[in-house]
């Protein structure tokens, strides 16, 4: 292994071993030390036992993906040797608990891996409890990559702040035990060096939390959800700040109640959002149509996992795109946004609140487990460019000037002035039946066509100001990679490491506004390409099908993955080199 200042680190063991908490602490330490990072967790759907894996990628430049091969593996049980030993790159290091794990020197030698056996259990017990094995291993890791304990001690103090001075002292002892052991016993120069750099003004956050923050920045004040992996951390985060932000956060009895509660609140003028995964969204679909027909603004977040049915609840997939496009009966306008990383989730979370209210229609944000639960470093969020736009929501003074108010009055842009209950002179029926311009149930032929067209025309209006798909790489290149959502991270991470000779031949198009579809733009890009490669985390090429439907262009060259795992950087590097 060559000398480098990046690291791919993995810790594994049973659920309940503190895999994730140790990983998160290490992440924070490296962020404070001036590094960029991304983390990724693999876990089965259970609370105790099973096999949990936490991977941390540390680098000097922004990272949003994971590698297949790792530099350091921390094994807390024998099963980790069986499951993850082969993940180690040649020249990598295995840190293992000699109190629990047996490994032959031949196995290490064959794999060209250095083994650092540490009595993690003994050290942890000496520090105050076996549960701190993870913290001992954390100390060992820091020593290995030439990082000092200064930042670690501060992070530990913060992390255990609520547990009291004794627990803090024990953990400080544990991290030092691991650190000192490696300094004393491991004399080789491990090629991954991560000394403290100039710190950046970054935060470490998941796309679920950043999406919630974006929505909060743009005035979200009503959030309803039913717990469902991998969307639950939006609910948990918003619930934790509900009081501070003056937000109602409600865990309702089921997803049907969730969406209908949000619609009731939105009807009175609240800025409402719901969050779920595919299965919960399926329960909400009838009310998605209700939102569109009553022209009630609402933001619906679908954090995808592998489906159908219960599917693979804790694994990632981009399998719901066509579902989001077609969910619910009938023709109606919807807007679908697909963030590619935590930063975009923040921006689109804020945008969505405005789009929903300006166009008085449901906005769907489609994300997935990979970014929703993976944390990455992003520049601290700025809110000064977020403006609140409530569209044609009338004030009482404006309403007073209208002689005969009609909620669903036909208009050139498809959007009608809106009142909320409590306003004098603004009565109307928000009607799940087709209705006339006042909201009264009416099934007349001419009216039906007028109202359908009025609603649909809101998307034409939206198209006029909708951002085009994003282009990365050489914009004039003739080879085009087409992507959406969370694959952005791995594709850009792989792309920047390619030799210049390959890089200049490639451009990458990310479709972020999925619906309405930027058909003209996409057609132009594809028609001016010699080769096109579609990369998606699903088995059906769902964006590819949408592109074919909207442009008539069928992309034949596809890289699809649907085993519940994200693309590894090595896979994309290989595909881009071959392309």
């Amino acid at each position: 292994m060559k000398q480098k200042n990046n690291l791919s680190w993995k810790i594994a063991g049973e659920a309940g071993f503190g895999i994730k908490s140790a990983g998160m602490m290490l992440g924070k330490i490296f962020m404070r030390a001036g590094y960029e990072l991304f983390d990724y967790t693999e876990y089965p759907s259970l609370i105790r036992g099973g096999h949990n894996v936490f991977q941390l990628i540390v680098d000097t430049r922004p990272v949003n993906s994971v590698t297949e091969k790792i530099d350091v593996l921390v094994a807390l049980n024998q099963n980790t040797i069986k499951e993850n030993f082969d993940d180690l790159a040649s020249g990598g290091v295995l840190i293992y608990d000699t109190d629990k794990i047996k490994i032959s020197s031949a196995k290490l030698k064959n794999a060209k891996v250095d083994g650092i056996g540490i009595p993690l259990t003994t050290f942890a017990k000496e520090s105050g409890g076996e549960v701190m094995r993870n913290v001992v291993a954390l100390g060992a890791t820091l020593a290995l990559v030439d990082q000092k304990l200064l930042i670690a001690n501060k992070v530990i103090r913060e992390n255990f702040k609520n547990k009291g001075p004794k627990i803090i002292a024990n953990n400080l002892k544990a991290v030092k035990a691991g650190f000192d052991f490696v300094i004393k016993e491991y004399k080789k120069d491990f090629p991954c060096d991560l000394p403290t750099l100039k710190p950046k003004d970054n935060i470490l956050i998941s796309a679920n939390e950043s999406l919630a923050m974006g929505a909060l920045a743009a005035g979200l004040n009503f959030y309803v959800a039913y717990p469902m992996t991998p969307s639950s951390s939006i609910l948990h985060y918003l619930a934790s700040v509900a009081e501070k932000t003056g937000t109602v956060v409600k865990h309702a009895e089921d997803e049907i109640a969730v969406i209908n509660m949000a619609l009731g609140a939105a009807h009175t003028g609240a800025r409402a959002m719901v969050g779920t995964s595919g299965g919960g969204f399926a329960l909400m679909t009838e009310s998605l149509g209700l939102a569109a027909l009553t022209e009630t603004p609402v933001v619906m977040v679908n954090v995808q996992r592998g489906g159908p049915a219960t599917g693979i609840p804790t694994w990632t997939e981009q399998g719901d795109l066509q579902f989001m496009l077609h969910a619910a009966q009938g023709d109606f306008p919807r807007v679908i946004l697909a963030p590619g990383d935590a930063g975009e989730a923040f921006d689109l979370g804020a945008q969505a609140m405005n789009i929903a209210e300006v166009y008085q229609t449901p906005v769907i944000i489609i994300s997935d487990k990979f970014i929703a639960e993976g944390n990455s470093t992003v520049p601290k969020f700025k809110t000064n460019n977020i403006k609140i736009n409530r569209g044609k929501l009338l004030t009482q003074a404006q309403l007073n000037k209208i002689k005969e108010y009609r909620r669903y009055k036909l208009s050139a842009d498809g959007i009608s002035p809106r009142t909320v209950p409590g306003m004098k002179g603004g009565l109307y029926i928000a009607n799940s039946d087709e209705h006339d311009s006042y909201g009264f149930s009416f099934e007349g032929s001419k009216n039906r066509i007028e109202q359908v067209d009025k609603r649909q025309s809101k998307l034409d209006t939206f198209m006029k100001s909708m951002p085009t798909p994003l282009i990365y790489g050489n914009p004039k290149a003739k080879k085009t990679v087409v992507i959406w959502g969370s694959t952005k991270g791995v594709i850009l991470d792989a792309y920047v490491q390619l030799p210049e000779s390959i890089k200049k031949k490639i451009r990458i198009m990310q479709v972020q506004y999925i619906w309405p579809f930027a058909g003209k733009f996409v057609s132009h890009v594809l028609e001016t390409s010699k080769d096109v490669l579609l990369i998606e985390n699903n088995s059906n090429a769902q964006l590819g099908n949408l592109i074919a439907q909207e442009t008539g262009i069928k992309i034949k060259n596809k890289l699809l993955k649907y085993d519940g795992r994200p693309f590894f950087r090595e896979e994309i590097t290989k595909a881009l080199k071959k392309f």
Partner: protein, 285 residues
Amino acid sequence: MNLKDFETNYKPTWCPGCGNHAIWIAMRGALAELGLKPENVLIFYGIGCSGNGANFTKSYTWHSLHGRAVPSAIGAKLANKDLTVIVMAGDGDAFGEGLGHFLHAIRGNADITYVVHDNHVYGLTTGQAAPTADKGYKAKSTPAGIIEVPVNPTSLAVTNGGTFVSRGFSGNAKHLKGLFKQAITHKGFSFVDVFQPCVTFNKINTFEWFFDRVYNVDDDATYKNTDKMAAFGKTQEWGKKIPYGVLYKAKRDTYGSNLPQLKGQALSKRKITTRNLDKLTKEFA
């Protein structure tokens, strides 16, 4: 305020003699007598004959999906506590599609009024047995008679933590109006199950059938409607004698009343501005 202030230009499309007419009149009368203004009243309707009432009563109105009026009403009341929020649903709405929402709404005790048009049949879909139909009731979808025993809505409400559990009868509109007034002014989830005979499809549970059986609980001087066990007993009476009126009353905090973020001005009336996130981002730094 009078009846006319709560009337739209649309005339009811219910069958002549339908029990819904009395509910419509009684509700408008109650709203007028309570001095409420149409713009401060928000009524949620389900789907069915009862739901068609959305077009006939003048107020702010939400015509929901089948079975889903209750959660929307709770959401609206949380967001704007200044509104008088009422739900009008049918027995299929309330106890078929929406039974789960009913039970959870009772638990939460949101300050809304829930009126169920209970006639034991699905009127708008031509007379199939509703969840409140008596065992053995024969209809198009159950030609040999329904096998299940009926849902007992008032029993469910009492045992599940209800704070205002009542029954009304379309054959006594004056009493019904009084009941609605009490229900609307009750702090918490007020439930009014209204016997409202379907004159077209239900040839068994007719006005006559009910007139022969119902009695007003207020006429029973020994009955105390604050005694939960006694109330449960009352809700179990069925057959020769069927009680109506306020069967049970209790005091409990209303949903959301203890949320610090809902103190002061109603949520929906607060100006929406860009939130500063400097404090919130600290935990991620």
